[in-house]
Amino acid sequence: MAGFVTPVCGRIRIGGRDVTHLPPHRRGIGMVVQQYALFPHLRVEDNVAFGLRAQKAPRAEIPGRVAEALEMTGMGGYAKRYPRELSGGQQQRVAIARALAIRPGVLLLDEPLSALDAQLRSGMLAELARLHRELPDVSLLYVTHDQVEALTLADRIAVMDKARLQDCGTPQELYRTPRTAFTASFVGSANLLPVTVDGSGDAVFEGRALAVAPVPGRAVAAGAQATLCVRPHLLALGEGGPNTLRGRLTEVQWRGATHRLRVEVSGHLLTADLPELREPPALGEEIALHFAPGDAVLLAAGVAGTAGSGATSGSSGTAESSEPADPAALAGASEAAGVSRG
C-alpha cells in the first residue's frame, strides 16, 4: 500500500487514482508503524513538521498545522520535547500527529497499538475512534491482529489469511454472518459444528435437525456439507425451542460476570459463555444448551473444527492457530481506499 514493495499483480487505487507505480513519497499516504519510527534527532514539533517541510508547504502555514495536529492528538504541550523523553503512548500520538499533519487521503496504521501495554491500548483505542469521527475526510486503513480494535474502529473489515482476502464487510456482517470458518473464529470466537443441510434448510448435526434462519442471498443447497457457527455467548442453558444440544459438562470456568462452560456434544467440544450462574452444574453432569435459530449461521463447505480444535478461543489464540501465515483483520474506514486484484 505505502509503496515499499511492488505488487506482483493487481492495481492499487486511492480515491480512484492509480498509485501502483508511484514511489512512496508521491502517494499521499500517512503511515504509522508499530515502533512509531519517530525521528530521534528532531523535537516533537519538527517531527510533525517533517512531512510539511519535505513537501515544501508554505513556511507560514507550518506552525499552525503542526499545532493543529498536535492538538488533535492531545500532545499540544509536548512540542519542544525529544521523542526519547516521551512514553510509548505519547510517542504513538506524536506519530499519528505527524502522519495527520500532511492531511493525507489515507492514514495507514500498521498494528499501531501492539507495542503498548493493555491499559494504554484501550485508551488509545478510544482516542483513535474519536479521531476517526472527527476526521471524516481521512480514510483509516488499520492493520491489526486484534478483533476488538477492528470491531471498535472499522466501518468495513477485510479479513486476510495467508496473503489471501478471506472476507470483507461491515463489522456487524462479519460478526453476525461470517462467510467462512476462518472469519467466524478470527472475528470473535465461535463454536463450529460440521452439519449436513436437509431439504427444509435445517442443519443436521449428528442426526439432530437444528433450525437456522437463512441469510438472504446465501442459500445452501440441500444435502451439502456445511459448518454451523454459534457464538458462545448466544448459547443458553437448559431446554428451549427446537435447537437443543445435550452433552456432558467437562469444564467450568468462573470469570466473574460470566461462567464459561465446556460441553462435549457427540465428540465435539462446545463453549458457552453464560451470565453468572448461582449454582453451576457439576462436572460430568448431563446438561442441555439451546440457541435461537436467528443466532446461528450456516457456513458453506468449510472445514469445521472438531473437538478441541481451539476454534472457540479468543482472537489472539486464533491468530496464532493459523500460523505460519500472517492473518490480519484489515479495517478500512471508508470507500476511498481499496485494493483490487487483477
Binding site: A2, P24, H25, M31, A37, F39, F50, R53, R98
Partner: protein
C-alpha cells in the same frame, strides 16, 4: 567463574600482570619518562627536565605538529566524504557490485602502505598530475589509506539503521534526497564522528607511506620523530612522541564527547 579456587585466580592474575605490564604499560611509561629525562644511562632516567617539550613546541617541531594536524584533519574529512558516499552508494547496489566496491575500498588496507606510497609517488611524479614535492601528495596518500576505515564504519552503521525511519519519511512525502539529508545523515552522525576520529588517529601516526612521499617543507610529526631518533636524539624524539599521543588522544576524546552528546538512544 572459570577458576573456582582463590589461589588459582591469584596465580593467573600474577601471570597476567607479569605479561601485561612490561609488554603494554611499560613502553608507554618509558616513553613518557624519557621525554622528561636529561640523561638515561642506567636503570632509571636522571636529570629531569622539560627542555625537550620546550623544543617540541617550537620551530620545526611545532611546524611538524601543525603539519600532522592539518594533514590528518584534511585527510580524514576527505576520507569521511568519500567513505560515506561509497557506503551509501553501496547500499543501493546488487550483491556482486557491492562486493566489488567493498574489495576496491579494502585494497589500500591489504596493500602495504609503503607500496601505496610508492604507487602514488610513481603516478604523481609525472605530468599531467605533478604533485610530487607538494603537501597534496602526502594528504592524498593519507586519504587513500584511511578511506577504507571510514567506509567500513559508515557501512556498518547504515546496515544497523532501522529501515522504518526511511519508510516513515518517504510516506510523509520526502524525496529520497531529502530523506538522506534530513533523516539518514543526522542519524548516522554519531558513527560519522567515530569514523572521523578513527581516520584522524590513523593519519596522525602514519609513517610508511609518508616516508616515501614527504617533501622537505611538509614534514609530519612521525617523520620528525624518526629523524630525531635516527640521529640519536632519543629524548626529544620521546617528547615529540608524547606530543603526538596527546594530540591524538585529545582529538579522540573530543570526538567521543561529541558522540555521546549526539547519540539519541
Amino acid at each position: 567463574m572459570l577458576v573456582p579456587s582463590r589461589a588459582g585466580r591469584w596465580v593467573l592474575w600474577t601471570v597476567f600482570a607479569l605479561l601485561f605490564l612490561p609488554l603494554f604499560a611499560l613502553p608507554l611509561l618509558v616513553v613518557v619518562a624519557a621525554s622528561f629525562a636529561g640523561h638515561w644511562s642506567g636503570a632509571f632516567p636522571s636529570d629531569p627536565t622539560t627542555a625537550h617539550y620546550a623544543a617540541a613546541v617550537h620551530g620545526e617541531s611545532l611546524q611538524a605538529l601543525v603539519t600532522s594536524l592539518v594533514t590528518a584533519v584534511v585527510a580524514s574529512l576527505l576520507a569521511l566524504a568519500l567513505g560515506t558516499w561509497t557506503a551509501i552508494a553501496a547500499a543501493g547496489l546488487g550483491k556482486r557490485a557491492k562486493r566489488s566496491l567493498d574489495a576496491l575500498l579494502m585494497l589500500p588496507v591489504a596493500v602495504p602502505s609503503v607500496v601505496v606510497g610508492l604507487a602514488v609517488l610513481v603516478a604523481f611524479s609525472r605530468p599531467p598530475l605533478l604533485l610530487n614535492g607538494t603537501s597534496s601528495i602526502v594528504i592524498l596518500a593519507h586519504t587513500l589509506l584511511v578511506t577504507a576505515f571510514a567506509h567500513q564504519s559508515v557501512a556498518a552503521a547504515l546496515a544497523r539503521l532501522d529501515p522504518a525511519y526511511e519508510q516513515a519519511a518517504a510516506s510523509l512525502g520526502a524525496r529520497p534526497s531529502y530523506v538522506l539529508w534530513r533523516v539518514k545523515l543526522p542519524l548516522l552522525l554519531p558513527s560519522l564522528t567515530a569514523a572521523a576520529g578513527l581516520c584522524f588517529a590513523l593519519s596522525m601516526g602514519e609513517l610508511s607511506a609518508t616516508m616515501m612521499l614527504y617533501p622537505p617543507d611538509w614534514v609530519p610529526l612521525p617523520v620528525r620523530i624518526f629523524t630525531a631518533t635516527d640521529r640519536g636524539s632519543l629524548f626529544s624524539g620521546s617528547a615529540l612522541a608524547v606530543v603526538l599521543m596527546a594530540a591524538t588522544l585529545l582529538v579522540l576524546l573530543a570526538v567521543s564527547r561529541l558522540r555521546t552528546r549526539g547519540s539519541y538512544r
